[in-house]
């Protein structure tokens, strides 16, 4: 059993079945992609895992613990973090503050301590600042700590969002279209960066991606969803030639590069 496991997960919106009896198993320290045409249920799955949606049937385990009934903040405390398809930074806060918010789960200072300015609180804050600056550097945003997040260019906003997710020291990182809106060059950089996260920090990566070059380039396992059902799963080479996958994508007549 992997770090993240779902059994027979079903999510309905009224009459629409967004996820249908989905079984998914993400191995620890793997890079796992979920692909599929629009409306296949990829982001819905992310939302179920992170606690935004409650699945009607089925169960999901993280690190062996059932997380179906937990609130999003509890699930984050267990060691998951995510980014969003359409970047959702705290736009009017600085880059540094964004990352500090990301550290929330493992900062321990209380509000009374903050009012009194206890040595513990100060020490906690100082360490957090140091770590936040280190994270900024890690994602290549050194010296931009005091910029408002909304003033960053698009690509840097994406990286800041990842830095914010990393700040909670996750074991599992869910990336929702990390290369959306990037040119091929930037996509390549992002691929290398994602690989580094896994290799250097040992983080398991689960990503949704439309860019087939990225998917085929970095994934170890690819899961293909269509209308909420898993239609194929396996290493990239196998998925590439799977007739059911090709069929699912046929509506757009393009296998490599099904966009928005």
């Amino acid at each position: 059993m992997g770090i993240l496991t779902s059994h027979q997960l079903t999510k309905r919106f009224g009459g629409l079945i967004a996820l249908s009896q989905l079984d998914l198993d993400v191995a620890e320290r793997s890079i796992h992609s979920i692909i599929g045409p629009n409306g296949a249920g990829k982001t819905t799955y992310f939302n179920c895992v992170t606690g935004f949606y409650r699945a009607e049937e089925g169960r999901t385990f993280f690190n062996g613990q059932a997380i179906d009934t937990l609130t999003p903040d509890r699930i984050t405390h267990l060691g998951t973090a995510r980014t969003y398809q359409n970047i959702r930074l705290f736009a009017n806060m600085t880059c540094l503050e964004n990352i500090l918010v990301g550290m929330h789960p493992h900062l321990k200072s209380s509000w009374v301590g903050a009012i009194l300015g206890t040595p513990r609180t100060r020490q906690d804050e100082e360490q957090a600042h140091t770590e936040a600056l280190r994270l900024l550097q890690f994602v290549g945003l050194r010296g931009k700590g005091d910029f408002l997040a909304r003033n960053l260019p698009y690509g840097e906003q994406r990286r800041l969002e990842i830095a914010r997710a990393l700040a909670s020291r996750p074991k599992l990182l869910l990336l929702d279209e990390p290369t959306a809106g990037m040119n091929p060059r930037e996509s390549l950089d992002t691929m290398a960066f994602i690989r580094r996260l896994r290799d250097e920090l040992g983080i398991t990566i689960l990503l949704i991606e439309h860019n087939m070059r990225v998917v085929m380039g970095i994934s170890e396992i690819v899961t293909v969803l269509d209308f909420g059902e898993k239609i194929a799963e396996g290493p990239p080479e196998q998925i590439r030639s799977d007739p059911r996958v090709i069929e699912a994508y046929l509506g757009t007549r393009r296998v490599a590069g099904v966009g928005a």
Partner: protein, 565 residues
């Protein structure tokens, strides 16, 4: 693209709107009532000044929006001012044809005399000309370089303020050698004479101009000092501020003290609501409830009257009031945890009313005194010194405000403060960041409520009696308005906001009939001209970090084309 003709049409219609505004304030009775207060004896009174300002405003806005050179701007201002004059003249013409008084009680002969410079309908050309001149002056204001406009504006503003508050200033400057010398130099017993006005204007003009040219030098000099000396300068500035704050009631007398206490109480409430609305983004229209809870807690615990339950001293009761309003905040937050946005405003509105009605209710009368209220709340005493009146209670208010502002600043920069801001920005993402929304929301309501409870506690001893009708919805609205005017999320903004929206109207009490008219107009103008508030929160940050680019335009994610699509 606007055509040239359309643009001129806009200038005229804009001017006419200002003229309409002038006619409106005249018919509302403001011009006549404010005319009682002379700003500069024999030159201008507050009512005429108001009309003049409207003319200036017409020219200013017309000139500012236009494209083209200085002459075009001047012409636009002139035209807009003249149009405003035409708008006001319409009132004169109308008044000569029909009897306006049947409908507008304020359309008195005196008013028409003021507007028409005492000439009736024959004054129409004069009104239009005056409007044009005022409009042109307003246009000139947009053309002047900042180095000239700043000192000029400061000079005019201070002169107006000195003229407006001449009575008060004369009282303050009554005694003592140097003080009475200043008074004799500026004032005559009846008010501010032209000679004094000119003197004040020139002094302020020169001081302001000198300061403007020297300020960068001084600042540079300070910044070049080693840090300990910089800290010393800051400390000296702080000490100066403290000294001024401590001496204000002594210099200003009873009336000023009363106003200052009121400003202080609103500051306390503002700090609390700012924590909820400004920091955490939780709109609250029932904020007065916490103020009431604080007041009633102290009242019931200390009162020597029939509803008093403990006869405690104020100092023992105040912490209890804090805790009670903190808990009230938690309880208040519980049912509305899942409500967002507009619905939250309505729900909180209800809560404020519930508390007031509970205090008023007959059923609870044996405990809270119903509409008769809780009487005989003793004044605080410390080591034989009685805080007997506003001048003394002011110091309690000041100390509490400073303390609460300090606490608010600490919280803002803490983990909890960041969690609040994250929640304000995006509640869902904040939750996904591991922030327990229930906890941080309840803490925002609780701590914010405790701040207001402290204000309520002081309010109870200030009045010595508590009545339910003191805790109307209007107070919640006032507090919300003052933090908006001061600047959402800004701590100094709260003080500035309460000085402007509470202090100023108190000082101009005799015009209280128009209080809400002015209030509303001020809010609208504020939102149009300076929506970020008088002292916005980000300013401090920008000062601290000069490298932050101001002009960088945010790139909209949606605007970026997907490469793969």
């Amino acid at each position: 693209m606007r055509t040239d003709r359309g643009s001129w049409g806009k200038v005229i219609s804009g001017g006419l709107i200002f003229g309409g505004a002038a006619a409106f304030v005249s018919l509302a009775g403001m011009v006549e009532a404010l005319g009682v207060r002379e700003i500069v004896i024999g030159v201008i009174d507050l009512g005429r000044l108001l009309l003049l300002l409207i003319g200036l405003g017409a020219g200013y806005q017309a000139a500012r929006r236009g494209i083209g050179g200085a002459l075009t701007a001047l012409a636009r201002g002139l035209l807009a001012g003249a149009a405003a004059g035409v708008g006001l003249s319409a009132l004169l013409v109308l008044a000569s044809v029909v009897n306006l008084r049947g409908m507008f009680i304020n359309a008195s002969p005196t008013l028409l005399e003021i507007i028409s410079f005492g000439r009736g309908t024959a004054g129409v050309p004069l009104v239009i000309a005056a409007g044009a001149v005022a409009g042109a002056l307003g246009a000139v204001a947009t053309l002047l370089p900042g180095a000239v406009r700043g000192p000029l504006g400061a000079g005019v503003t201070v002169t107006i303020v000195v003229g407006l508050f001449q009575e008060l200033l004369q009282i303050i400057l009554q005694e003592g050698g140097i003080r009475s010398a200043i008074r004799q130099f500026i004032f005559v017993p009846e008010g501010l004479p032209p000679r004094g006005a000119l003197g004040v204007f020139l002094v302020v003009l020169v001081v302001s101009a000198v300061w403007r040219s020297r300020q960068p030098v001084v600042r540079g000099w300070i910044l070049k000092r080693p840090p300990p000396q910089q800290r010393l300068v800051r400390l000296l500035g702080l000490l100066l501020a403290v000294a001024v704050a401590l001496l204000l009631p002594l210099a200003g007398g009873l009336f000023i003290s009363q106003v200052l206490v009121l400003v202080g109480l609103y500051t306390l409430m503002g700090l609390g609501l700012n924590l909820e609305v400004g920091f955490a983004g939780l709109l609250d229209l029932g904020f007065v409830a916490f103020f009431a809870i604080g007041a009633y807690t102290v009242g019931l615990l200390t009162s020597t009257g029939q509803y008093g339950i403990a006869h405690w001293s104020f100092w023992a009761a105040m912490p209890v009031a804090l805790v009670v309003s903190l808990i009230a905040g938690f309880l208040f937050g519980l049912p509305i945890l899942r409500i967002r946005g507009d619905y939250l405003a309505i729900a909180t509105l209800g809560f404020g009313e519930i508390i007031r009605l509970l205090a008023l209710s007959e059923a609870l009368r044996p405990w809270f005194g119903g509409s008769q209220g809780v009487l005989f709340v003793p004044k605080p005493i410390i080591g034989g010194f009685e805080f007997s009146g506003p001048a003394q209670i002011y110091y309690i208010t000041l100390a509490s405000s400073v303390l609460i502002a300090f606490v608010a600043a600490r919280l803002r920069d803490s983990r909890l403060g960041r969690a609040w801001m994250a929640m304000r920005e995006d509640e869902d993402v904040a939750e996904a960041m591991g922030i327990n929304l229930v906890n941080v929301k309840l803490l925002a309501y609780g701590i914010g409520g405790a701040f207001a409870g402290m204000g309520g506690a002081i309010f109870a001893v200030l009045l010595g009696s508590i009545f339910p009708h003191s805790f109307s919805l209007l107070i919640s609205i006032n507090v919300l308005a003052l933090i908006i005017v001061g600047g959402m999320g800004s701590l100094p903004g709260v003080v500035v906001g309460s000085l402007f929206l509470v202090g100023l109207p108190e000082l101009l009490r005799e015009f209280s009939d128009f209080r809400f008219l002015v209030y509303g107009a001020a809010l609208i103008i504020m939102m149009q001209v300076k929506p970020e508030g008088l002292w916005p929160a980000a300013m401090v940050r920008r000062e601290l970090h000069k490298e932050e680019p101001v002009g960088v335009v945010a790139e909209e994610p949606a605007a970026v084309e997907r490469v793969e699509a």
